[in-house]
């Protein structure tokens, strides 16, 4: 608006563009520093843990000269800071190293495993948000009544029940006994190789190619683990929504709306929730980021080939390139989600513009 009124239309726009570029530059340099710091910490931790990556490759019966040669091939004889510099240079050129465990480039592995996690986490967060926010609102509005207590109990169970136990129980009831859902894995064996990966997310790929049989099968597999993760984020999101809503409903602008004779529904959903959404963005983003790290337990129970399971397996096998690569991806995801929630903040809160 300011550029239109100023009369210096071109100048205003150029200035806006430059300030935009400046902001982007600031964000990018901050991202770079964050990721570098994350890599450094992970790298040095990986070098001080008492597991020997050389042994992981050659086995503990290899003769000393073989051991030494492999050690040199892996660059482990160099000073640590030099090793780190080499690693960062490689990463910048897109080389995350080779996994000892799968003998494939780590980048390729991650391209395979991350979409599975992304798919599961996105669906889980969607379920948690779509159900959690309205439940939290209702709990706040009907404070102290039945629905409030119900939401609290549901949240408490969500917080305290071990997820692997709920997962096994879910599989037992809905898969083994009732047969309502698909079992572990992303697809039935018979569908497994029918799909050419485009995004790596089975649901998206199936929809893109119009293969609805695969799509339905993928849904039947993902619905149980996604609901489980969704339940956990629901527990968190509904509780936070409740407290944000209670805070907003006690504000004076709510009285103003009542004085104006605005309907109660509009006061709740249009005024209070609209304001509560601002802090809620952070909560939902955090819960999403948390799921994107890969939920090791859920992925293990449901044989879900996701990032969490990949990193855990790699760690247990001293596969440091894979661990570092996975950590890097998680770091990038965290930063990306933070940037996204900042942008949403600007959208929802005029005071931050």
């Amino acid at each position: 608006m300011s550029s239109v009124n100023s009369g210096y239309e071109g100048g205003g726009r150029t200035r806006a563009l430059f300030s935009g570029l400046g902001a982007i530059g600031r964000v990018l340099s901050m991202v770079a520093i964050t990721i570098l710091g994350l890599l450094a910490v992970t790298f040095f931790i990986s070098r001080v843990v008492p597991i020997d990556p050389v042994l992981a490759v050659v086995g503990d019966r290899a003769p000393p000269h073989v051991y030494e040669r492999v050690r040199e091939e892996m660059g482990l004889h160099l000073p640590v800071w030099q090793q780190f510099a080499i690693y960062v240079t490689n990463v910048l050129s897109g080389d995350l190293g080779t996994s000892v465990l799968t003998s494939r480039p780590v980048a390729q592995d991650i391209a395979r495993y991350f979409p599975a996690t992304l798919e599961l986490a996105t669906l889980g967060t969607l379920i948690g948000t779509v159900l959690g926010v309205p439940l939290g609102v209702l709990a706040a509005v009907r404070r102290g009544h039945f629905i409030d207590h119900l939401v609290r109990v549901v949240g408490l169970v969500g917080y305290s029940a071990p997820i692997f136990w709920l997962g096994l129980l879910g599989l037992l009831v809905f898969y083994a006994n009732l047969g309502w859902v698909g079992g572990p894995g992303r697809l039935d064996i018979s569908y497994e190789y029918m799909l050419t990966p485009v995004t790596g997310m089975v649901l998206v790929d199936a929809a893109l190619t119009g293969d609805w049989a695969v799509f339905r099968n993928a849904i039947s597999h993902i619905v149980l683990p996604a609901s489980l993760l969704g339940y956990f984020s629901l527990a968190y999101i509904s509780r936070m929504t409740r407290s944000f809503m209670l805070n907003e409903l006690s504000q004076e602008y709510i009285i103003t709306a009542r004085v104006k004779g605005v309907s109660e529904q509009r006061i709740i959903w249009g005024h209070a929730l609209r304001n509560a959404l601002v802090p809620l963005i952070t909560v939902i983003a955090l819960s999403y980021a948390h799921l994107l790290e890969g939920s090791v337990l859920t992925e293990t129970v449901f044989a879900w080939p996701g990032l969490g399971r990949y990193i855990t397996n790699s760690l247990q096998n001293a596969d440091m390139s894979a661990v570092l690569g996975g950590t890097l991806v998680i770091g990038v995801v965290f930063v990306a989600i933070n940037i996204l929630s900042d942008l949403l903040y600007r959208l929802f809160d005029p005071r931050t513009r």
Binding site: Y253, T256, A257, S263, R274, N275, P350, R351
Partner: protein, 280 residues
């Protein structure tokens, strides 16, 4: 003007809050009636002056309980009226301006949108008509550039501007009755006068009934026709503004004496002596 039934009749109004720690009686047996005139309610913090206003609008917060022998607006019994109709009265025919526009305006909606909402809650009108009406109203509260104020968010407006926008919003439906609850207490002294002048003019032009709630005795007596002095939830005294000097009640006299004179030294400043017997 022909004699008509009063706009607002309040008889023996009580507001109680039943809390876990006991019952708080915020308003106790308040009675008054109001025509299309200006009534000031004065009192210190906790005297029940604000709760009296809220009770009339049916906005007493949840654990509160209202009882009255009579509480009518234009002959309509506010105690037995269905909630929906009460909501139609509220904002449509009776309204309120609160203390601080910083808190009483919704921070994530533009002033214009909030005004349109107020108008359309009561009148069948397109967004465009509502917008015209809102701009007209913003002009009536002497905004220099109504179009700009219309598209501002509350945090972008100054205190005086925000309060004038608030007044514009609350009067956009042409109500008959306004409660102004400390409308200038949060503003700079320099803009207080301006806001009061605008309020004064609008109330006079539209022939509205006004309850002006304040702790400022002098301000209220200069602005209103009559003054109700409250203490501890009870009315201590009701008098015409002109008769303030001849007030009888010791509490009112005490308040008057506490006003420091500009001329001459008055050390030590007198303090207010409160008698527990007043609230018995």
């Amino acid at each position: 003007m022909k004699e008509q039934a009063p706009l607002l009749e309040v008889e023996n109004l009580n507001v109680r809050f039943h809390l876990r720690t006991g019952t708080v009686e915020a308003v106790r047996g308040v009675s008054f009636s109001l025509g299309r005139e200006r009534l000031g309610i004065v009192g210190e913090s906790g005297s029940g002056k604000s709760q009296t206003g809220r009770a009339i609008l049916g906005l007493t917060p949840p654990p509160g309980e209202i009882t009255a022998d009579r509480l009518t607006f234009d002959g309509i019994d506010l105690l037995s009226i269905p909630r929906r109709q009460l909501r139609n009265l509220r904002g449509g025919r009776m309204t309120m301006v609160m203390q601080d526009p910083k808190y009483s305006l919704n921070p994530v909606m533009t002033i214009g949108d909030q005004m349109i909402e107020a108008y359309r809650a009561h009148k069948r009108a397109s967004r465009k008509e509502a917008r015209e009406k809102a701009l007209e109203m913003l002009e009536a509260v002497q905004m220099r550039n109504p179009g700009r104020v219309f598209s501002l968010y509350p945090h972008e407006a100054s205190g005086g501007m925000g309060q004038r926008a608030m007044i514009a919003m609350m009067l956009v439906t042409d109500p008959d009755f306004l409660i102004a609850d400390e409308p200038t207490s949060a503003l700079d002294v320099t803009v207080q006068q301006e806001v009061l002048r605008i309020l004064d003019r609008l109330v006079a032009e539209r022939g509205m009934g006004l309850i002006f709630v304040s702790h400022d005795l002098r301000l209220v007596s200069s602005f209103c026709d009559r003054v109700l002095v409250m203490y501890g939830g009870k009315v201590m005294e009701e008098l015409a503004s002109g008769d303030l000097e001849s007030a009888h009640h010791p509490y009112t006299r005490g308040l008057m004496n506490c006003l420091p004179a500009l001329e001459g030294s008055a050390h030590p400043l007198p303090t207010l002596r409160r008698d527990p017997a007043w609230t018995e």
